[in-house]
């Protein structure tokens, strides 16, 4: 078949993006997983709020919460959620230096140092939280 075409009306070819474009490249897949991880971050927050409510309502309510959260399905969900939250945190900290241009005495701070500072702050806050809970 002869395509409709004249010298003055070139017919452009537009390639459509596949629905599975994010599978075509590792970096795209990591990006989509990182976006997806926010759902699990949100779930973690909801779970934490439910825990706080249960604790504030006293013993029996707390026991019911513990029982509910130790069900296999809930346990599996929280294991997956933990993995995604850690993934979210790590990718976030790795990307943070790219968004920040920090200067100390006129000199640009190396990106690795900015990332390191973030990880250090993370470790410090986690240790503080662990100390508060376990003491």
């Amino acid at each position: 078949m002869r395509a409709k075409y004249t010298e003055f009306q070139p017919r452009w070819y537009r390639r459509r993006m596949s629905v599975f474009w994010w599978m075509s490249r590792r970096s795209y897949l990591i990006f989509v997983l990182r976006e997806l991880s926010s759902v699990f971050v949100a779930w973690s927050v909801v779970f934490l709020l439910l825990l706080i409510r249960a604790v504030s309502q006293g013993g029996p309510e707390y026991q019911r919460f513990v029982h509910w959260s130790s069900a296999p399905g809930m346990l599996a969900l929280n294991v997956v959620a933990l993995a995604f939250v850690v993934f979210h945190a790590i990718t976030w900290f790795n990307l943070a230096p790219q968004a920040m241009s920090v200067r100390v005495r006129g000199k640009r701070v190396a990106r690795s140092r900015i990332a390191l500072a973030h990880y250090a702050a993370w470790a410090l806050l986690s240790a503080l939280a662990a100390w508060l809970i376990l003491e």
């Binding site: 070139p10 994010w22 970096s27 795209y28 790219q98 968004a99």
Partner: protein, 247 residues
């Protein structure tokens, strides 16, 4: 090293086909040849009908961008020998309509670029500067990286958001806006914000980061966009807390 290599080149001849096809060309494999040299060999010796863009052969003009083995590359800076034993797949840049063979239509980018006013803006109500506007090496360092952009559009080809969201300003345009925003001689940051801090500006970017990976000049458009997000967020917070200052 083998002495020949196959180039699998995408052909699209709108006057006779509805969809692109692939054509193989066997060319000599020489260590000093870039992919562009291979295409020039095809054009000069094997098939004069092949269409593609090129000019400077030295990574400055930004016109020879193509997709080489699935990656957006400047073909003048991509060597055949690195792809041995081949074959090498050469396609037009992605996320752009194809006019013919390896030639893409770049009007969309050319319309978006001036929207960010990529030039030095001097406030009209201020007095004209007397003499040169001097800069220190530190002032230059603030924006120099972003000034390296050669408008080759490899970042547009690498970015999935460009392909999905038609209106997205795109990585290079935003990086070039930052090139002027961060210039100590420029006073146009406020004007550019109206274009940059929108759903089709920086906020469309989801930080895939591939623009930076693809950039042949080390511009880091992803970094420029994220830095601007921080600036835009700070500015909108300031105008919320101190409304009398933003008037």
């Amino acid at each position: 090293m083998a002495d020949h290599i196959i180039l699998q080149v995408t052909r699209y001849r709108p006057e006779r086909e509805l969809e692109p096809t692939t054509q193989d060309y066997e060319i000599p494999l020489r260590e000093e040849w870039a992919v562009l040299d291979g295409l020039n060999h095809v054009k000069d010796r094997l098939d004069g009908t092949l269409s593609y863009r090129w000019s400077c052969r030295m990574g400055i003009c930004g016109s020879c961008g193509m997709t080489v083995n699935g990656e957006p590359r400047l073909t003048c800076a991509t060597f055949l020998a690195d792809y041995g034993p081949g074959p090498i797949r050469i396609e037009p840049l992605r996320n752009f309509p194809v006019i013919r063979d390896l030639v893409v239509e770049i009007g969309d980018f050319m319309r978006k670029l001036p929207q960010v006013k990529p030039w030095l803006i001097h406030r009209e109500d201020a007095a004209a500067p007397e003499g040169e506007l001097l800069q220190t090496p530190a002032d230059l360092d603030e924006y120099e990286q972003y000034s390296m952009c050669i408008n080759c559009m490899l970042c547009y080809s690498a970015c999935p958001i460009v392909g999905l969201e038609e209106g997205f300003l795109g990585p290079a345009a935003i990086a070039l806006a930052q090139r002027y925003n961060l210039d100590s001689r420029d006073e146009g940051a406020h004007e550019r914000m109206e274009v940059l801090s929108t759903a089709e500006g920086v906020w469309a970017c989801t930080f895939v980061g591939e623009c930076t990976t693809a950039c042949p000049k080390g511009v880091d458009p992803a970094g420029a966009i994220q830095r601007y997000k921080l600036t835009a967020a700070t500015e909108s917070l300031k105008s919320f807390l101190l409304p009398w200052r933003s008037a």
